[in-house]
Symmetry: C2
Subunit: 405 residues, 2 copies
């Protein structure tokens, strides 16, 4: 259908692609397909009863406020709760440092909106989170990609990238999406020092940090940057930190947050005001009500148990069924692991065969901003139940074996 809108799209619209993967993923939702493709939390352990009780209480006690317009920066008690939580991680902030967003995706978009001029370079890990690339493509960003290994971004290859003058760098230090790997302490320190030496600020995206199955919690880049400045009692603001309720409470309520200086928060608030006015008032009241009595800590323990056992099952069956030449990461937490096939394999074309065998994954190529990763794939272990994980990995290994023939 021809309309007057046809030739009126903005130039940036040409940059909004990212739909190859979207098109592919449609197949993965066919019935009987065991999908390791999404990034979905396990719905079987959503705290449905607690949500119901919270909804009832919120509507009975604060119905008028919870259904009304609210502040752009978010519901104050929720921001205060998040700042207390952040303080417990060693970062001294208060509610002024916190803004609520519709999932971390919106934080990425608003950061792009206030910081990225067309053509600006962003330093990213390769592979990196696809959603960040989608958010910043719309602002015509370019990417300087630094390769990563089983310990995350290779800091020894960072210096060249830092010398190209990136606007900022974007890192997911814990159980990264897509690889599942975690940056060890020594490398984190080195990374923060390098960023400081070149004067490049950092976006630290940490959606999964609380979902650690084993080993010790590592200090965030934010804490390490503060320590570098000799005072870890004070938040210095060079690191903007992102986290979310999507993986601890539920993604359907679309609540995440940004930690930044009050000045940056004010700019983000201004951008959010023009973007969608405010976060969902009702969802914020309910999330606060569900979380405030210590339930969240308890619930996170339950999630960790369930995901740990699903990861273990996946690692076991991978070990049993995968042919020689295939390797994978061993994540200490989170939702994903990363499979690498022999050079020359093409996981994108393999996906069609896999879906025929009723199993799905995300081809790794999409996570590489400047190409590469054709022989890799991301597997999610949080969504499918253990017996389905077993069957799914068997199907996948058959697909791979046939591909390798």
């Amino acid at each position: 259908m021809q309309t007057l809108w046809d030739d009126r799209y903005a130039l940036r619209t040409q940059n909004m692609k990212g739909s190859t993967i979207r098109e592919l993923l449609k197949f993965t939702q066919l019935p009987d397909v065991i999908s390791f493709a999404g990034g979905m939390p396990a719905p079987d352990i959503f705290p449905i009863d607690e949500f119901r009780e919270a909804c009832i209480r919120v509507l009975e006690e604060n119905g008028r406020e919870a259904l009304q317009y609210g502040q752009t920066e978010g519901y104050l008690p929720l921001r205060e709760m998040i700042s207390r939580h952040t303080n417990a991680y060693g970062i001294k902030v208060n509610a002024e440092n916190i803004m609520i967003t519709n999932g971390s995706q919106q934080a990425l978009d608003l950061i792009g909106k206030i910081f990225i001029n067309p053509g600006d370079r962003i330093l990213v890990e390769s592979p990196t989170y696809l959603g960040a690339l989608q958010a910043w493509d719309a602002y015509n960003a370019q990417y300087v990609a630094v390769p990563s290994d089983k310990d995350g971004i290779q800091v020894e290859h960072m210096e060249h990238a830092l010398r190209t003058g990136p606007k900022f760098m974007y890192v997911l230090p814990n159980f990264q999406n897509p690889t599942g790997v975690t940056i060890p302490l020594e490398r984190r320190i080195k990374l923060v020092e390098l960023a400081d030496r070149y004067g490049v600020p950092i976006i630290e995206d940490d959606p999964y940090g609380q979902l650690r199955f084993e080993g010790n919690h590592l200090p965030t880049l934010e804490v390490l940057d503060d320590q570098l400045r000799g005072n870890h009692e004070c938040y210095h603001g060079n690191v903007i930190y992102l986290s979310t309720f999507s993986k601890t409470l539920a993604p359907g309520i679309r609540l995440a947050w940004v930690v930044a200086t009050p000045e940056i928060i004010q700019k983000l608030v201004m951008a959010k005001q023009g973007t969608d006015l405010q976060p969902n008032t009702f969802a914020q009241y309910v999330a606060y009500e569900v979380s405030r009595q210590g339930f969240l800590e308890k619930h996170v323990k339950r999630i960790v148990e369930v995901y740990r056992s699903r990861r273990d099952v996946m690692l076991d069956v991978l070990e049993s069924y995968m042919p020689d030449g295939v390797s994978w990461t061993h994540p200490e937490g989170g939702l994903f692991l990363w499979l690498t096939l022999p050079e020359g394999c093409d996981t994108q074309s393999m996906l069609v065969k896999a879906v025929e065998k009723k199993v799905a994954f995300v081809p790794g190529h999409s996570f590489h901003p400047n190409g590469g990763g054709m022989n890799t794939m991301r597997l999610n272990f949080s969504y499918a139940q253990p017996d389905m994980i077993k069957i799914g990995i068997q199907r996948l290994s058959e697909t791979i074996k046939e591909h390798l023939k």
Copy 2:
């Protein structure tokens, strides 16, 4: 506090102002201030019981789906319900023509994202909705303003503006924000014809259309554009239509929608994916559950009754207390009316005095994209209860009388 982020803001950030009014409005939230400044629905008639019942039912019957990730374009049954509602207005569309957004503000942002190149002209009414200007300022839009009178945009002054080559025009035909005026049928037809003659597509923003207190419902620009093309059974797509649940259900759930061609919807979906992934799943399930059994129609009637009586009270006391030389609009629906003081008055400086007298409004200047309107103000009649409206308008008339001395 100095950080590495300080000199890194994007150029467009300089355009994100719109905060004079925001700063002013902070005063209006002081205790005892009777505020006609906001655009808030009456919280005393929010359907709180229906929301509670809907939350319980949704969580019991569809808890896992309602708390999980969902589709970017929105929850299908909700989109189907909206398309049936749209059909009832005479526009033949289906779910493929509908996308759910976080309030209409997000629709405005996403439209800016996919259509506006820096420097593009947008044809707007003057005064117009401030949120649209805030959304599009971030894309470095420019505005061609066409003055309006008691019948809305003055079509006889439109031709010059249309000849400057605007990307699109933006109009609120029903009970406009901020003026409360409605464009009569004849002028609507003329507007659609002119837009067609110059090949300029239309954004029709209709948040209040259902809240008509008197007179007959008028055909939307969308319907008139279809009729112009000789077939009102078919949606031709030159008019993108926006509406919302904010004024009929509750603004705190942040749910609105766009009606457009499937092609434009797909572009908007791509933009939304990078912006915040998807609308709130839980809020959509709950809104659908609250609305689906015909409750919404009943509830809208109740809102209309309440707002009509509050408008009547406001018109009465304005008539009784306002000094000579002050005039105001007589809205047939919606939430706002518009007050015009004698030339030379400055409502922005008057606001300080008004707040001292414990009453607040929005100075009209802010709604004028290219200046003007210093002697005007917007008054909201939906939020305050009738006795407060009386006292508030008395206080306001005292402020104005002192100012006129």
